[in-house]
Symmetry: D2
Subunit: 354 residues, 4 copies
């Protein structure tokens, strides 16, 4: 069977991770990446992937910078089945007509509006409804985590209502010398924040209100939830529902994982590329149930969490996997995704010799 | 009428502010301050207030450091009606027998347990029950803010249940070169956090759960609340209840006060000593009501908020004010406390000449 | 004698401090302040100073915002002898023709080029050459500190060559929710940095090279110097030269002032408005001399250090003080400037009653 | 030829990297790691390397924690030729007698005093003098970088005198929830700082003074140097000397690598384990020469830079490489060390398939 030919437009925080992940999939071929920058961000990729220029200006600039350019965006589009657009917010909507004209399937990211594609995607929630579509939108990192965790409790028939406080990282590390916040917090200027309605594009029935703010750190979001359950439940029931759902992994204060930075270091210790964590890390020993209410806290590695969803969306649009389980099995296995970071056997690192 | 003679033991973040506030009260006399340190923290106060040594060792060290010492703690206790203990957490409990033996009234701070004094104090909530007592405990900055805000809604008959997320500052600015957190958040290792039960020592009936974490900033706590109301209410009703309560001041995103640091700068612009904010600053335009639920966010200047409460507690124990309103009127007027930082006439600053 | 009538255009970090300082001078009258913003930054000042609009658009916007406006910039210029322009970088150069047309004396700040005024000012270095001029430029916070400290050693005949590393604060606290840096350092993209040549506009003969970078903190710059002396000297000679110069104050690690935040807290403890430090704080016990080399470190409160210089520049341009010493005596006394923050008698705070 | 059997005692920031690096060497065998902790830090390694307990108490605790323990430290020592002690500061000195008794070669880290081993090690500077010794000390991250860079210029006959300002990261990321600094800088309480004399243990003749401070960031040190050359030289001569020396790599502002975080992100983009940078990254376009003076700035990845030195020290003590060049060739090749991060062909990442 021939491989799905994939292009990535926008080689930034998400795009470079999607490119790496596509390259790992046995059923996909990364045809190339496209971007507009010419500096270190793209130079470090130039030897690894065929490089295309997203615009004519970029193509000229790349030439001047001595980068070897395989062509323009249209050249890339002419060679792929699917384009993953991982450009900055609101750029993808402008790119869309070019993609449609080229007749390729399209995956956008959470910075775009649901209406742009008419479909919003989280693998475990609605893979089926994306099968064969021309395009979909992988929802944002915050929303993906919400759908995974609250969706798990909803699937278990436990969740009636969710009220969350989302403390977001202020900026990504690579650009933390620009536009960061210092020694402060910045509440979103509106309550409810947009993540609630955004999650409802995937989980339409969910009674959900979110309040958001930026915290003075650069890595990972941190969500705090008050959950009204459908009935009085035991803590073990809630834990079981979370344990059963994919792409949620438990961490524990009792293991010394007591702060965002502990988990970030652990990912490096596990030998993960870029120290990525694709799972939502739920603090197991902070899951608290009182009568018909539950409280929990989790950590979202915002730079990486949507990467496996993007991979699965590629299979859904191209109908190369029959259902979520089939696609996620391949994705999760190639990435090395886990349900617990410490209790399972730790896989050998790339550098290990058996 | 003779003035209430007050001593302050522990000239730290809270103690130095209490000392300044006592010195401003027309009905109080600051007899002196006591501490154990000998460095800049106490040197800068040495010319302003009579200085006592809290321990024999401290007395010797102060002498060696060239500080002029008026006596030991017992000397201070012999000259006062009330001692405000603002020593670090758990030190006050050890000091208590010395205070009791000296026969002085005692005010402890929120680092001590409720049981140590048997009474916990927030002026607007339970001044009366402290009248004539031998001792009380002014609750912590977080708890004080909770009692003020939730108490206001409870008094208005609007509050059924409160679920809050408290993002605390990591450390105070003066000690931020020691023991701070960097580029991370640190969730409390237990849900619910202790602030809920602590608020219940003042508002016994309140259905209240809090989740807490430390954020990577040094100034002011930031609380996010989901409130179950007793009935569907209008936003204006909720605002009116908050507006009617003392020591809550509104701020607005619409005025450009969009982050913790904006408010902190405003306090300096208002000419406040040390840039203090004794009020809870509630974002008026973030107060949101949906049916029988309300959502709100406020900012707590943790270094200063308990100072007016401590002043009122002094009057309650000594029965020198008949009720909360009478005491708070003096306290709030001497400090220059406000209900809105921008719409009222701004008072002349100390340096202004008419 | 009639007072010098002063206007301040640009009520930001520097402007609001200059306004306060002008209001404190016995020989000056603050006629008003002008700005273009309408939010909390100007609302908090509106009750204190007559407010003018710097532009026509601003005047309309201020009216819509309910601010009481005394007139436009030209109205302000018509009533003053001197305008202090404390607008953001490069705005003053554009304003200059309006000032010249109005026939007022002009003081610009360090964001403008030396050539714009043809004269750069630091009171203790070159007050005389500014006497009676139409305009001058008060150099930047970094440069002012360099001129004070290195100028002191040059005046004492001790300084041959200076090589400095300047770690700047990344952004001011009030705007630290915008454009800050997080968990990084940002070296200036050029060595030498511009502060060396800038200091040479005031101290023309000085052999001086600076390297600069931004650090991940919001308050105060921190300079580290390697000084080639003209001859082998004793540590006491170097200290004596610094002690003799104005507007330099010693701090000591031995007093517990061990980090930037310690000194910042001390300023608040001393009751200073906004916690300002107008002096350069040199760590006395870090001044090290080895043969004919000296090493030292100091702290520059960038928000405040140029305020006294601006006050003195007003007197120089208007020839209302015969020399630097006469002007600085008034300025320093009204501000409460000191040579040592701990060993002198601490003056009574505004709130103290004798 | 049989492999060098190596043990690592202390599986922390340095130890875990040394373990990984040893495992990559074709001529070494990692027999095991030893530590005293039982939490996530060691759990994540437990499946990868044989685990030994450094103390009897630790052995019991590890058993209770369900960790599979291969033995005590003495058991490990009985199976190795060399022990790399990467325990926290001052612990190694206590461990030394146990190592000596076991008759194994010993490598300590820079937290220990030079006198403890009588030899301090930087591969390119003094590999030969370590050949066959019983023990050596790999100097600290700061000192290693100084020896590499200044040693390169000294070897080229260009360096007469060096004066440096070292801005250190405040704490390592994994422990940044404990003991960090916030919104401040902390100057070392002594000038000169200890790094100068420490570098002289490897480069005895060097005229060197350092001033140090902690900055408010968690990753990488940043050094700023003023260098007195032996003669007027061209910028190209200085660059050539740096280019010729091993383990120094150029980065450029012109490539967009403008801040510490840019370089840190680049290491992740290059697929390096944990995002490590073993080279000293010198900003090529900031190297400035004026007559007989040079100025430069570089970045030191403090968590990783001493790892290759430790590997080379193992070969020196065991005399399994005849000289520095032979050992460094193997080390640098296995780690993938580079002279320039962008202009060379980027090697394929572990996940790439040809």
């Amino acid at each position: 069977m021939s491989k799905i030919r994939v292009g990535v437009n926008g080689y930034g925080v998400i795009g470079k991770r999607v490119a790496d992940a596509v390259a790992l999939q046995p059923d996909m071929e990364l045809v190339g990446i496209a971007d507009v920058v010419t500096d270190w961000r793209i130079q470090s990729a130039a030897g690894r992937f065929p490089l295309f220029a997203s615009t004519d200006e970029a193509r000229e600039a790349m030439g001047r910078a001595g980068l070897s350019v395989a062509g323009g965006l249209e050249d890339l589009l002419g060679q792929v089945d699917v384009i993953a657009d991982t450009t900055p917010k609101h750029v993808a909507a402008v790119n869309l007509p070019r993609y449609r004209e080229a007749g390729v399937k399209v995956i956008l990211q959470g910075g775009e509006a649901h209406e742009t594609t008419g479909h919003s995607f989280v693998a475990q929630a609605n893979f089926d409804s994306a099968l064969g579509r021309d395009m979909t939108r992988v929802v944002s990192c915050n929303t993906t985590s919400i759908v995974r965790v609250l969706g798990a409790l909803q699937d278990a028939g436990l969740l009636a209502k969710a009220r969350g406080v989302l403390i977001r990282r202020a900026t990504d590390p690579w650009e933390s010398h620009l536009g960061g916040i210092m020694n402060t917090m910045v509440p979103e200027p509106k309550i409810p924040s947009h993540q609630g309605p955004d999650a409802q594009t995937v989980l339409p029935g969910l009674d959900l209100v979110t309040i958001a703010a930026k915290g003075a750190h650069t890595q990972t979001h941190n969500h705090y939830w008050t959950l009204q359950l459908t009935r009085a439940a035991s803590r073990e029931e809630v834990l079981a529902a979370l344990r059963a759902a994919p792409r949620i992994a438990f961490i524990r204060m009792a293991d010394g994982l007591v702060a965002l930075n502990s988990t970030i270091e652990l990912m490096k210790d596990l030998g993960r590329p870029r120290g990525d964590m694709w799972e939502v890390a739920v603090w197991e020993d902070l899951v608290t149930v009182q009568g018909d209410e539950a409280f929990l806290t989790y950590q979202v590695y915002n730079e990486a969490i949507v990467v496996p969803e993007t991979i699965d969306a590629i299979r859904a649009l191209t109908e190369t996997a029959p259902n979520a389980a089939a696609s996620m099995k391949i994705t999760d296995s190639t990435l090395g995704m886990r349900k617990d970071f410490l209790t399972e056997n730790v896989p050998a690192l790339p550098g290990d010799h058996p």
